[in-house]
Amino acid sequence: MTRRPSFAVATALAVSTFGLAAHAVGTRAFDLGTLDDLSGGELVATSVDSLGRVRAGLSLGTVSLGDPSSVWSALPLADGSVLLGTGNDGKIVQVRGAQASIAGETGQLAVTSLTLGWGGAVYAGTMPKGRIVKLEGGKVTTFVDLPETDHVWALVFDAKAQALYAATGPQGKLWRIDRAGAAQVYYDADEPHLVSLVAGPGGALYAGSSGKALLYKITGPGRASVVYDFPGEEVRALAVGPHDTLFAVSNEYGEPPEIPRRPAATALGNAGPVTAARPKAGKGTLTRFDADGRPERLLRREDTHFSALGVGDDGRPYVGTAHEGRVYTVDDAHTSSVVADTDERQVGAIVLAGAHKLIATSDPAVFHEVRGTGGASAVWTSKPLDAGLRAHFGRLSWRSTGDVELSTRTGNTLTPDTTWSDWSAALTAPGVVASPAGRFVQVRARFARDPAAVVSQVLLPFVTDNLRPVVTSVDAAPKGAAVPSRDALPPSGGELAAHTSVLRVSWKVDNADADPLRYRLAYRLDGQAQWRDLTRPDEVVTKTEYEWETATLPEGRYRVRVEASDDGANPPDRAERHALESGAVLVDNTPPSFARLATQGRHVLAEVHDGLGPIARVDVAFDGRTEWHPFLPKDGVFDEAIEALDLDVSTLVSAGAHLVAVRAFDQAGNAVVREIELK
């Protein structure tokens, strides 16, 4: 969503990630125009692209897989069913129509990969014992236990070479296995894991590693070259595209959260809920390599790493995210689209080519059959848009090709619930929103009437309630000096700030609706009733401070009044204002004077007078030096406009004649200096 030029809106109440644009005084708008704006809500059989267009997307069926929590691999079979390799109980689930059943149990933690092999048998790679099992005739048998291998991450069957290749970890080995189950190391990488594998153009194998995220091209036993060194840690998935292209998904994870060392007794204790911190989502990148091996980055997401990759019948890559369970695609022009938005956390497998198209997700494990594009259920729903305050909504507008129906609903909770209004009657053309006033609003678009329709530039103006700004404090201090704390004692002693006739008036305002404010200042002498304008009538003060030149004012104690008003952003009948006056502010621009200054032995006798008082400090320096020594008055406290002092300087100067400079300050920092000779 773009942010229109004008005032920025960031109310104290608003938590929306959307910017809000202003059209006129008090009127703002939700402007949904980017992929992130439009994909923040719910996409049911709809798609949003990076050009801000919403259209019909993949229509998904839903079959819950029950006990499994994750899907790692998918294999459509010729009979129309689909096998899914799942975790965390190592089951192979078969989905036929809307029914899921257990086709085999491997006894392992997860079935990470599935492929058809010799004689149409299904071969499944598992973890964590490095086992490949064969599923044939409804029976699971161990095909091979790979030595020095814990995890089988990917399988590729090469019918021509009559070999099954297995990418494994944690020794980073690529195994070649013959029909009898005899395994040989085909390539031994320096990386701990080879996590992805694909048979590429020209008979070469491509393997992606975990560790330094390397893409290997393996052309024969022990013969490999690194095609690309990706940033990050992992080349999670590979797929062959049209025209001898290769798609690669790589991920950057960063440092995982620290896991406390597990006590050995845990292994014999009773299992309980696991609440250890989860790592943050990483960053995912989709890269295309052309037939000459030249890379081109097609898609990058900073908010999620990718967990699955498939190539569609249209030749485009489809990547599944590991966060929020979405499927993105990108075209040659780098226009990316969200084509599916599932309720699950991760996409585990994508098959969008061939007769059986599916998206399988994890956490929880769900099988989504791709039924087509659009349909009666194709609905795009925005995320709840937060106006910050109760708002009245104006004319909902959008641009579209084809027939779509838009409607709205409103409420006052961040998450829509039963207190929200019903969806408004559908608008087939831009029109005034019929939903009642509310802080939150959602916009919905239906594509049932025209699967080819495209919607873009959804704009929803609104005006929020105008709340009165409240001035909560007004302070004044000499320019350059800190405003004295209201809660703590002032410092004891020390140098006084240099006098200035300029006072800095500052104030705080509670402006709940964050509309622009204008301030007007006035002052009066303490004890008088008449306020005098401090700001000119045409002077627009929008900052919460003001410098006040007091040199021409009679000395005395003043009060300053600050009035806040939002009349600059609201019509007169809606404008609100509030004023607050300060405490007494001292205006004193005249220094004190010495009524008496004399010496008596090693004592300096002085009497200092000030107009408003009190005297704040008296100190002395000797013989032209700038080291000043403070003294207290005779009565011990500087608290009056006239103070008498008897300064015993015998401990500060040696015997003999000295020139003594005596300096006196008043409370406003005005100072006077006189000299006297000490004999």
């Binding site: 933690l109 944690p170 894991h193 292994a267 009773n270 299992a271 989860r278 967990s307 991760q346």
Partner: protein, 615 residues
Amino acid sequence: MRSSSIVVAAALAGLGLTLPLAAPTAHASGPGGPIMPVSEVKPGMKGYGLTVFRGTEPERFDVEVIDVLTRFRPNQDLILVKTSHPRLEVARVVAGMSGSPVYLDGKMVGAYAYGWQFPSEAVAGVTPIQSMLDELARPLPPMLGPTPLPSVRASAAAREPDTQRYAGDVGAYDLRSHARQLAQASPALAGGRAVPASTPLLLGGCSDGTLRLARDLFEPLGLDPVQGGGAGTGAIDASARYVDGGAIGVQMVSGDMSAMGTGTVTRVQGNRLVAFGHPMMNGGVSALPTAVARVVWVMATQSRSFKMAESVRPLGALVNDRPTAIVVDDRAKAPTFPVEVHIEGVDGAPHPDWSFRVAHDKFMGPSFVSMAIGNAFDTTTSERRDVTWHARTAITVRGHGTVTVDDVGVSVGGTPDVQDWAHARAVRAVGALLNNPWEDVVVEKVDARISVRFARDMVHLRGAEVLADVVDAGQPARVRLHLVPWAGREETLDVEVPLPPELAGREVEIELAPGWAEAPELPTPDRLDDLLANLPRGAYEPDTLVASIRLPEQGVAFRGHVASRLPPGAFDALRPAHDSRAPEPFVSYLRTSLPLHRLLDGKDRVRLRVRPVLH
């Protein structure tokens, strides 16, 4: 100083006054004669009691009611009586006479159950019979064949709270903690000072160390272990039956060692009887073997007198252990399992093989396994020499095969204390299995083979150094160990620790520790099979050094599986956010076990850098 606290149930009888009685037997079904409610008991009433002072025949002792203490326990009165019998003039209050029936006006009024320590007169407390009969009438889990195994086979409907089960993670099973839990859970024993009823637990074939361990474990439960001998040589009188006033034993271990809780039958009704007049361990529904007992002698002491007895005929089982009585069914057969101990390496030992049968009980089982192994070891190897030993214990569980656990140790200057066996892995394994929360198990056999060397066969890890602090990727780290034997000069041993190539460019820390102190990563068990799989893997081979290197990858453990060194994407996929029944994450370590052929003591760590190598 004499204590004012109440002790063991007691009964009094006239020494030498043998009065054969036509007491009903367990097979002589019937009401067992009239009973007198407490409300009819008055001070000064006189009557008699029945108990066995010697042999198997009950004798009379005289009784005079002092008064009735109302609400002595919750909903239970206590009748205070004076007793007289020539033997009780000496013994005063006798542990083991708990349950002796008391009659007034020819009606059974209750059972002797309580006494006071250091008594100066023969005064005891009588538990009213009605309170005991209430327990007899309490429903029990259905009998299945000759073996009730209430804790094993009880139907869900009839099953009662399992008061004997260890409360806590099975992996943290500890025999002493289990004993403390049971002691705290026993209302009759809570607080200790107020009413510490106890039952003499007569131990036969035990060393002093075994007796100390028994006291540690059982005294807090109200049992009073005493060296009694008489392991029970078999049926002296195969026709022996339970009779009112007859001696009864609860046989918790038999064979080369015996342990029998001794008391007196109060009342036989059909195939069941009540005895003791107080709980044995207040364990509720139980399954402990019982036997008709023969009293050898009433030992009189100042602090507490007790009956010395032995079993003469195993018969029935204790099926319910309640605050006012134990309930025994003579048709029931309590499960036991054999414990065999074979000790090698003690030349000329006359008795290297030991054989026991231990009650199949959640607490008694591991308790007597520890005592049996410890007793056999202590007795066979008793020497004032250093001992190095390695016990390999095979535990056979019905339907689940056999698991083997290792215990090792070095004892300086003599045989290790029997009490150390309470913490042995073998004992903890038996305890974990019997107390597992998933399913009831039947332990079929425990077979411990202990090899002994009279030597301090251990070296201390004085320190370690890397021979090169920078190592090329793919090459192993070479570490020199400085080992100090018990006697002799410091030795050095160079070992190689493999380093995975992915550590290239990293600083690496290698932790060095004895194999017996290091465990591989194991999954938290979710079922019995998981626990069984984990038990043998609780440590590396004891005579090895384990080098552990922390790896950048993480792993998970879940439902019997351990997946270590996972790529971050797989690690994320394995851990669902929607379900807390998720794999447990752990830091991956590469552990290498290096044979030392000796036990090691001490730990150390060394650091080095792995240099990337350009090929």
